[in-house]
């Protein structure tokens, strides 16, 4: 019997949530076949089977958070009798021979039939053709069709979400070559790598997660983005005034608070579309995701219950979460449960507008761009130098319409242009 444990998948993670099992008790699995999907703070990972065998038992239910080292399931591996042990030895030898003849073999050779009957693939011939044309190994694709049948869509989804296994395979293929450096084949392979002009960046971990989420969002939500410019001169003055009192509150904190106030007027943007039950659920609580740019890519920590928090609290929490994000120390709880997302790209300089992708399954996202001094025609027809900031707001056009979105940003603009108005909302 073999126990499959949650092993350390790097990046200093100590725990993970069991998202989904690809197998059930009694299933027969091949070596390297994905068994279970787990999500850590930073990524979703598949745990492959260490060996061929049958799933004996599953110990951890889906949805549970477990620490590294916890046993997830047990496998009954094939009883290795005397004869089989011999055969396996023979296979290993053959495999090595294959590696030696590598120089001319560009693709791995699948082994021939003989004893084992071919495994049934639950996909129609047409779907199988699509898979072949995309280089997809159907044994790795989970079928969502009737009776677990793999549909065309399953294959396309796999192609979009999971480019990574190919990279992994390449790596694995490279491994057995490495120890046999004295053989010519290895040298040939290395030369090939060197002559390649492109640089290879591994597409997994957070990058792959981002790709998966973005694809899901953009393929699900009909995005609509509108732009607005906001006069932040008064807000800057207020912040200066507060600094005089020893309080340094970031502009972001004001934006978050003002957006929360606007969401009270327009709760449709703090909602989730439940297509299955044909309804839109308005969320009472305002949990704001804040996009943070880290070395490994975008990450979105969440400040909970903005509607109950003061500007100072929001400022402090945003600061703490951003720091944690940059140091890769966010817990899973600090990254989930958002109802609305903001992205403040202003401090990065540049950027006068964007078409941000909504953080699925939320309904809207607002991005703030760089504040610049610009000549503005005031109400009395005089030209004044004002601090102007652009914002871009993407929303789910299935849930809301453009007029509502404009009304929403107008309300927000009013609060930011006259920050004292926010006083009126004090509870």
């Amino acid at each position: 019997m073999l126990e499959v444990k949650l092993h350390d998948i790097g990046e200093g993670m100590t725990e993970a949530v069991v998202i989904h099992y690809f197998v059930k008790k009694g299933d027969y699995v091949k070596a390297d076949q994905p068994l279970v999907e787990v999500q850590t703070d930073k990524m979703v990972a598949e745990i492959p089977s260490p060996a061929e065998g049958t799933v004996l038992d599953i110990f951890v239910p889906e949805g549970q958070t477990i620490a590294v080292g916890t046993t997830l399931l047990s496998l009954q591996t094939e009883a290795v009798g005397h004869e089989q042990a011999k055969e396996q030895a023979a296979v290993t030898v053959e495999a090595e021979v294959e590696t030696e003849s590598e120089p001319v073999v560009s693709e791995p050779i699948g082994t021939n039939e003989s004893k084992t009957k071919p495994q049934r693939i639950l996909a129609s011939p047409y779907t199988r053709k699509i898979a072949r044309e995309h280089g997809v190994d159907l044994s790795l694709v989970k079928g969502t069709g009737p009776a677990g049948r793999i549909t065309d869509e399953d294959v396309y989804r796999y192609v979009q979400g999971q480019q990574a296994p190919q990279t992994t395979q390449q790596e694995q293929a490279a491994q057995p070559v490495a120890p046999t450096v004295e053989h010519e084949p290895a040298t040939v392979t290395v030369t090939k790598e060197e002559t390649k002009e492109e640089t290879i960046i591994p597409f997994r971990g957070r990058r792959k997660q981002i790709a998966k989420k973005m694809t899901q969002s953009l393929f699900t939500i009909p995005h609509c983005t509108h732009f607005e410019e906001i006069d932040v001169t008064e807000l800057i003055a207020l912040r200066e005034e507060l600094k005089g009192h020893g309080m340094n509150i970031s502009a972001t904190a004001f934006f978050i608070k003002a957006l929360s106030l606007a969401l009270k007027q327009f709760p449709i943007f703090n909602a989730k579309l439940d297509e299955e039950n044909e309804c839109i659920r308005l969320e009472k609580e305002h949990h704001f995701g804040i996009a943070v740019d880290t070395e490994d890519g975008l990450i979105v920590p969440v400040i909970k219950n903005i509607e109950k928090k003061s500007l100072r609290q929001i400022h402090e929490e945003a600061k703490a979460l951003t720091k944690k994000a940059l140091e890769n120390q966010l817990s899973l709880a600090e990254m989930t449960g958002g109802t609305f997302t903001i992205s403040n790209v202003g401090p990065l300089g540049g950027s006068i507008g964007a078409t941000p992708i909504i953080n699925y399954p939320e309904v809207a996202l607002v991005a703030f761009h760089k504040t610049k001094k610009r000549p503005v025609v005031m109400e009395n027809d005089e030209i004044a130098v004002r601090s102007m900031m652009n914002l871009s707001m993407s929303f789910d056009h299935r849930v809301a319409d453009g007029a509502t979105a404009v009304a929403f940003t107008n309300y927000f603009a009013k609060l930011i242009e006259n920050p004292k108005l926010m006083l009126m909302e004090l509870i």
């Binding site: 003849s101 693709e107 039939e113 003989s114 129609s124």
Partner: protein, 478 residues
């Protein structure tokens, strides 16, 4: 001999003109490649010249013989019915000739260069062809090895092709055996046994195992029908010695490896094992990977361990069936042309042109019960099928196996009229991952044997119309 300097340049060189080879050749030509096909004997290979086609000529003639009685019943009468094996040989030769000309014409029409000669590999991209005194060298981008396999008789038996015959020589007989002893349990042995029995020969079957190789229900029905035909079956028996004389053969059988039984007959037919035809090809020079049994190891694209050299058909081992060779041949050609192609034999239909015919695809009941927790069985006898009564062929049944959990159909087994044609409905359904309703929803032509398939699927849930409830219950719980 100046090797290399005067090489002819070709996209593809194919060695062997059997079904695997000529399908690869034509498909490659269709896809725009220049093709040379080397064959040392006759186009069409074993299948056309010695195997599938000759045996099916005999099977067809035998089936026609059995319908004579039925014709009488319908008022079509002859004064005298006789069978002349010599005339059947002429018919066989004519059919083979026509089909071979057809293949030759197709190769020509597709601008395939066909060379009669013997090929041997000189290097990874060169092959030499010896034809009489000439020796030509071809340089290829891709090569296909489609050289087939040769019959290997059990060690104790010397096949003399006069009294002791194999799958090729049996269909060359110009006289009808008095008593034919058939040694083997595979489809060829069954075809030989039932064909020659229908012509009027006495037939005995000697099985090494304790049963035939099909689904248990078919094995059972087969035994009943063989008994009805007065064919004696010796089980668990191994031939230890054969005495071939002028007029008869005497066979010594070890029954259950204990008692020895002596059996006399006029002829002995022996089912054989296979050995890859690779002698003289010089493939070991290329280091092509071989299986334990010596066949050429290939992947699902029919590529050998050298990806630009393909091997198709019997030379690759596995089931020695033309249907596999044909598929591999096409897949090889498509792969060369850069297409993503694949051969998968999971749902390879197995057919026997016996009397009555047998056809089967997917899992047997025994295999299904090993792999699935809860298995449903639906079985429908052709006695309940109207069209089977009309044509007077009521022997046999159709059996369907499904997974009770998902309702997915796992296997279909048929014995009886129309089985060989009807099995395609099973193959397509299985490839489409069909479930019970996928067979129940469509309309079936009436009256026809097709309806038997529908009723077998319906019988999975005791819903077959032309079967009493008691019988269906029995079938479900079996």
């Amino acid at each position: 001999m100046v090797v290399g300097e005067l090489a002819h340049e070709r996209d593809v060189v194919i060695v062997g003109g059997g079904p695997g080879g000529y399908h690869a050749a034509i498909r490659a030509a269709q896809l725009g490649l220049s093709v040379t096909l080397v064959e040392k004997e006759a186009l069409g290979g074993v299948c056309l010249n010695k195997g599938c086609i000759p045996s099916k000529v005999f099977a067809h003639a035998a089936q026609s013989m059995t319908s004579v009685q039925h014709m009488n019943d319908m008022g079509i009468e002859w004064a005298h019915v006789a069978f002349h094996p010599g005339k059947l040989q002429q018919y066989k030769t004519k059919v083979i000739g026509q089909l071979r000309q057809g293949v030759e014409a197709l190769c020509k029409a597709n601008k395939i260069e066909v060379i009669k000669g013997t090929a041997s590999f000189l290097a990874e991209d060169r092959i030499g062809v010896e034809k009489g005194d000439a020796f030509d060298v071809y340089r290829f981008r891709y090569a296909v090895i489609a050289t087939g396999a040769a019959l290997v008789a059990p060690a104790a038996i010397n096949v003399d092709h006069k009294r002791v015959l194999n799958a090729y020589s049996i269909y060359g007989l110009e006289e009808l055996p008095n008593h034919l002893i058939v040694y083997g349990s595979d489809y060829i042995a069954l075809e030989v046994a039932t064909s020659f029995r229908a012509f009027g020969a006495d037939v005995s079957i000697v099985l090494e195992s304790d049963d035939f190789v099909f689904d248990s229900s078919i094995n059972r029905e087969l035994q009943r029908l063989l008994k009805k035909m007065k064919v004696k079956v010796y089980k668990n028996s191994r031939i230890t010695h054969v005495e071939s004389e002028q007029e008869q053969v005497t066979v010594s059988l070890a029954v259950k490896e204990q008692e020895t039984v002596s059996l006399e007959g006029s002829h002995l037919f022996v089912s054989c094992g296979l050995k890859a035809n690779v002698d003289g090809l010089e493939i070991d020079r290329l280091g092509l990977k071989r299986t334990k049994e010596g066949f050429i190891d290939v992947n699902e694209r029919a590529q050998t361990s050298l990806p630009h050299i393909f091997a198709v058909g019997d030379v690759t081992g596995g089931p020695a069936l033309a249907v596999k060779a044909i598929k591999q041949g096409k897949v090889a050609a498509e792969t060369m042309a850069g297409k993503q192609s694949e051969a998968d034999t999971t749902f390879l239909p197995t057919i026997v042109h016996s009397i009555p015919p047998i056809a089967s695809v997917g899992l047997t009941e025994e295999e299904a019960k090993e792999q699935y927790k809860d298995v449903r069985i639906g079985q429908f006898p052709l006695t309940g099928n109207g069209y089977a009564s009309i044509i007077g062929q009521k022997d046999g049944f159709i059996k369907v196996i499904s997974d009770a959990d998902s309702e997915m159909v796992l296997g279909i087994h048929m014995m009886g009229a129309g089985a060989v044609e009807l099995i395609s409905s099973g193959v397509i359904g299985l490839e489409m991952v069909g479930r019970e309703e996928d067979w129940k929803f469509p309309l079936y032509p009436h009256p026809s044997i097709n309806e038997g398939l529908l009723e077998a699927v319906e019988a999975l849930r005791a819903e077959a119309i032309h079967l009493p409830p008691t019988k269906q219950k029995g079938a479900v719980s079996s």
